[in-house]
Structures are given as structure tokens and as C-alpha cells.
């Protein structure tokens, strides 16, 4: 039951910078204990949304609530429950690892004993014990990222905001960070994760919102989002000859199939229903194009994202061009 509670609710959240709309009236909520993913291209408004939710940016319009209580104008109480890991490491260069963590603990009112104990716990958990007394400026990029995440966790926040936690670090570090996120999730921490790695979102998040140009274009559980591509199948062929020679013939023979790409000896075909493989193979073999490989591709969240954002981008652009009359600002 508690798991279903909305811990954060954003209503018509809007942010303008000198007339430029960075976030355009988004609505969403985060349930207690879930990993909520905010997925969008560069400049979509992900960081701006985090800034509004955490009190680092003034809200132009709309409201934010923490467990039903409005904190649009005063975020102090909400901030006490939030851990924030920014997109760039912003700890103190001159302080060492432990000092940085302890200082961050102090900002959240932890007393000396408490924060020192917790700092040591985190240093161990993140494998940074040996770097504990090294100054932050001597850390590698991956270590910096880890310590920045640790700093966000020092006061054991209920809600953790992670702004692109795995961007710009190597695969092994990224994997460690992902497993850390999973562990935190198991312990009941609510996590708000922004990323542009679709696979990461798919793997980690329970619910995902796609944000494009400041608007949420889709929102739902991973399963819900994947349903959009249900019934869509793609099959890739590697042939023993050039496909273009038979392309027209192919279209005539299989009018229901859609050729996504056909270059040299490889071709991708999309079908709204399931494929019957035999007639296809037969078609190629009869035209002296031996089939070396046939692979059915299951759609991933990436297809959904590309479909959704591609379509929606076009839709938004069309709308803007048709919205020519004066004073016709506002939603769709």
C-alpha cells in the first residue's frame, strides 16, 4: 500500500528563462520506493525539472507537492528529505573524500559522530577507502562521480535525484553505479533518474517519462510503453547478393511488408503482423539470392522512444507552424 503512495507530485510545472520555455507545463508523480526515469534528449528540460523539484530554480508556474504538501514556494522541509546528485561533480576540490562527505552530512544537520560513521560506511560501500584522505581534485572522473553519489546519500535521503549518473564514465564504473542504484531501490529509497541511455532506463526504471522540448510526450511503466510496439516485428536478412535488384518485385509480392532499409546484401523488413519466414526465403532463393542469415528483432524501448519522440517532435513542429495568429499561446 505504502509503495503506491505518491511521494512527489508535479502539476503543470513550467519554467521560463527570459521568455524561453525550458519546461512547458509537465505533469507527473513519483511513487514512494520506485525508480522513476526521466528520459529525453539534450536540452529537453530534465535538469531544469530536477532544479525545480529540489528548490534550486524558481518555478514559473504550476506546483510541486511532497506527500501531498505543497512546497512550491518554500522547499526547506522537502530539501531535508532529498539527496541530489548533480550532472557534474561539484564537491570541494580542496577537501578530501571523507571531509567532503562529512561536510555534506553537516549541511543536513547530522552530528559529528553520526556523519563520520556514515561517511566511512559510504567510503567502504563505494570502494573509496583508499582515496578517503586524498583531496577531491586528485580523484579520477569515475571516483569523483562515485563520491558525488555518496555525498547525495550521506543523510540517507528518502528521495534521491540522480542527474545522468553514468554519463562520461567507463562501462565497469557505470555497471557498479547501476547495481548501486538497484541496491538502494531494494532498501526502499525513491529514485528520480534522468538519463539519455535508453537501455539504462529500461533496465532500471519502473516507470519512465519521455520528455522532449520541455513536454512529457509519454509516460508509463516499461511494460506499458513497450505495448506501443507490440505487433511490430522486424526481420533482418543477410543475402548472397544485392537486394536492390529485386526490390520492386519484392514490394509487389509482399505488399504488407515494409522495407526499412535495403542496402547491398542486407535488408530489414518490418511487418505489422508476424512473419511467415518460408515464402520470404523462397522468394530470395528463387532469385539466386541465397539467405545467409535471418534474424527476428524484438522491439526495445529504443524503438518506442524513437517512434514516440520522432512523431511527437514532428507534431510539435507542425503545431508551431500552424500557430501563427497572435495571442494563441498555450497548450496543445
Amino acid at each position: 500500500m505504502i509503495a503506491l503512495l505518491k511521494i512527489i507530485e508535479a502539476e503543470n510545472l513550467k519554467k521560463q528563462y527570459n521568455g524561453f520555455t525550458a519546461v512547458d507545463g509537465v505533469n507527473f508523480h513519483i511513487k514512494r520506493g520506485e525508480i522513476f526515469g526521466f528520459l529525453g534528449p539534450n536540452g529537453a528540460g530534465k535538469t531544469t525539472t530536477i532544479n525545480m523539484l529540489t528548490g534550486l530554480a524558481h518555478i514559473t508556474a504550476g506546483s510541486v507537492k511532497l506527500m501531498g504538501e505543497d512546497y512550491t514556494r518554500n522547499a526547506i522541509k522537502a530539501q531535508a528529505l532529498m539527496g541530489i546528485v548533480p550532472d557534474e561533480s561539484n564537491l570541494y576540490e580542496e577537501l578530501d573524500g571523507r571531509e567532503n562527505l562529512c561536510f555534506c552530512g553537516a549541511l543536513y544537520g547530522m552530528d559529528k559522530k553520526q556523519r563520520e560513521k556514515r561517511a566511512d560506511e559510504l567510503l567502504e560501500q563505494f570502494g573509496l577507502q583508499e582515496a578517503a584522505s586524498k583531496p577531491f581534485k586528485a580523484y579520477s572522473k569515475g571516483m569523483k562521480r562515485k563520491l558525488t553519489i555518496a555525498a547525495g546519500l550521506i543523510h540517507e535521503p528518502e528521495i534521491l535525484f540522480l542527474d545522468e549518473p553514468t554519463t562520461g564514465i567507463d562501462v565497469a564504473f557505470a555497471r557498479q553505479i547501476r547495481s548501486l542504484i538497484t541496491n538502494l531501490h531494494k532498501k526502499g529509497t525513491t529514485i528520480f533518474l534522468t538519463t539519455h541511455y535508453i537501455e539504462e532506463a529500461e533496465r532500471l526504471c519502473e516507470r519512465i517519462a519521455f520528455i522532449v522540448q520541455g513536454r512529457i510526450v509519454r509516460e508509463g511503466t516499461v511494460v506499458e510503453l513497450m505495448q506501443e510496439t507490440q505487433g511490430e516485428n522486424i526481420i533482418n536478412f543477410i543475402l548472397g547478393g544485392d537486394f536492390s535488384a529485386v526490390q520492386t518485385e519484392f514490394k509487389n509480392s509482399f505488399p504488407d511488408y515494409n522495407i526499412i532499409s535495403g542496402k547491398n546484401n542486407s535488408v530489414s523488413i518490418q511487418s505489422p503482423a508476424s512473419f511467415s519466414l518460408l515464402p520470404l526465403v523462397k522468394f530470395f532463393e528463387e532469385r539466386s539470392l541465397p539467405v545467409f542469415e535471418a534474424k527476428i528483432v524484438h522491439p526495445s524501448l529504443e524503438e518506442v522512444f524513437v517512434n514516440v519522440t520522432g512523431i511527437e517532435l514532428q507534431k510539435l513542429q507542425n503545431e508551431q507552424s500552424t500557430r501563427t495568429g497572435p495571442g494563441q499561446k498555450g497548450g496543445i
Binding site: N51, L56, I76, C104, L107, G109
Partner: protein, 244 residues
Amino acid sequence: MKPWIAFFNILMKDMRSYYLKPPNISWGLIFPVAWTLMFFLRSPVAVEVRDLLPGVMALSILFGTTSMLAVTITFERKSRSFERLLLAPISLNLLMLAKTSGAIMFGIINAFVPVIFAAILTNLSGINWLMVLASVVLIAITSTFLGLFIAVSVTQVFEAQTFSNFFRFPMLFLCGLFIPLADLPSFIRPVSYALPLTYGADILKTAVSQNGVIAVPLNFLALLLFSGFLFAYSIYNVNRKWIL
């Protein structure tokens, strides 16, 4: 939530990271020492040393606080570590008080460096030390808040330096310390009265040599008003400019 823990630790971190760092101690302490020597060694007559003491003290504070605060805050803003402080669950007022307290304390310490030198060179009896301390504290507060005012007006560290000098050097000549207010051209005098240092310096003069020209309560009132205004205006600007 215990906001004072945050307050105390911000203050201590700044002390350790900035004010008590060797290069800054040297800037903060050697500067007053140099000023002190420059003036005192030029004035062999003991009585003159005493006359110069208020001026040197006031300048030590001014040079130890204003640019120091402006530079450190601008630096933290650029490295984005300042965002951490803005995200902490404490009020903006408390945060900015914590950020300024370090500089204020540093300014107070700086003020007493020339006193040590003066004590070696001359007899310092008959000075109203309580009044000296009160004015030193108030000068340190207004000078620091002036630094805060500068910090919210610039984005680059070098601008903070330049802008600090823009305020400090005119103050030096217009505050009545080296050129008495009465000797200044009358069209410049209003500018003098618009500078907080004028009032602080006058209290120091009264406390050290009983030769201030403005009533002491008026001086204190002026300094309090300057502090209140500079702080409130800076908070208003922090809220407007730094919280995006």
C-alpha cells in the same frame, strides 16, 4: 533538523579552506603589517602613531574582508559547489550569514594586528577598548556585506577583484581617515557620508584619540543601517539571481 550544525560547519570549512590558508593569512596579515609599518615608521613621534591607528585598523579590515568574500563566493559559484549550499535544508538568511561570518571574524582579527605594532611603538593608555571592539565588529560586518554585494553583482573571479577595488580605493580617501572630512571639497562630502567606512572610522577616532566629528550613537546607527541594507539587498539578489 539542526540548522546550527550546518551554520557552524560552513563557517569552519571556510575558515580552514580560505581564511586560515597560508597564502591568505599572508595576504590578510602581511597587508596590515605592511600598512602599519609604512605609516608608523614614517612617523617617529609617538603621538602621531596613535593618530594613525584608527585609519590603519579600518583599512586592515576593509582589505581583509571585502575582496576575500567576493572572491571566495564567486569561486564557489563557478565551481558549482555553491549549489550544494543552496540545496541544503537551511534558510537563505542563515546560509549567507554562515558564508559571511568567516570573513567577518577574519576582518576582526586583522584589525588587531596594527594594534600590536602600535603597542610596541607607543603608549596606548586611555583608549576606549570596548568602543574599539564594537566599531571593529561593525566595520567588519559592513565591509563583508559589501563583499557579498559585490559577489552577487559579478560572475567572474577577476570581476570580483576589480569591483572590490572600485569600492575600496575611493573609500580609502573619502572616509575621513587620511584627509579629514572637513578638508574635502564640499561637493565630494556627500559621497563620504554615503560610505559605511566613514562612520566606522569616526568611531575608531573617538575611541582612540577622542577626535571623531560625528556623534557616536549616530555612527552606530549608520553602520547598523548599512549592514541591514546591504544584507537584505544581497539576499534579495541571491534569491533572484542565483536561484535560477
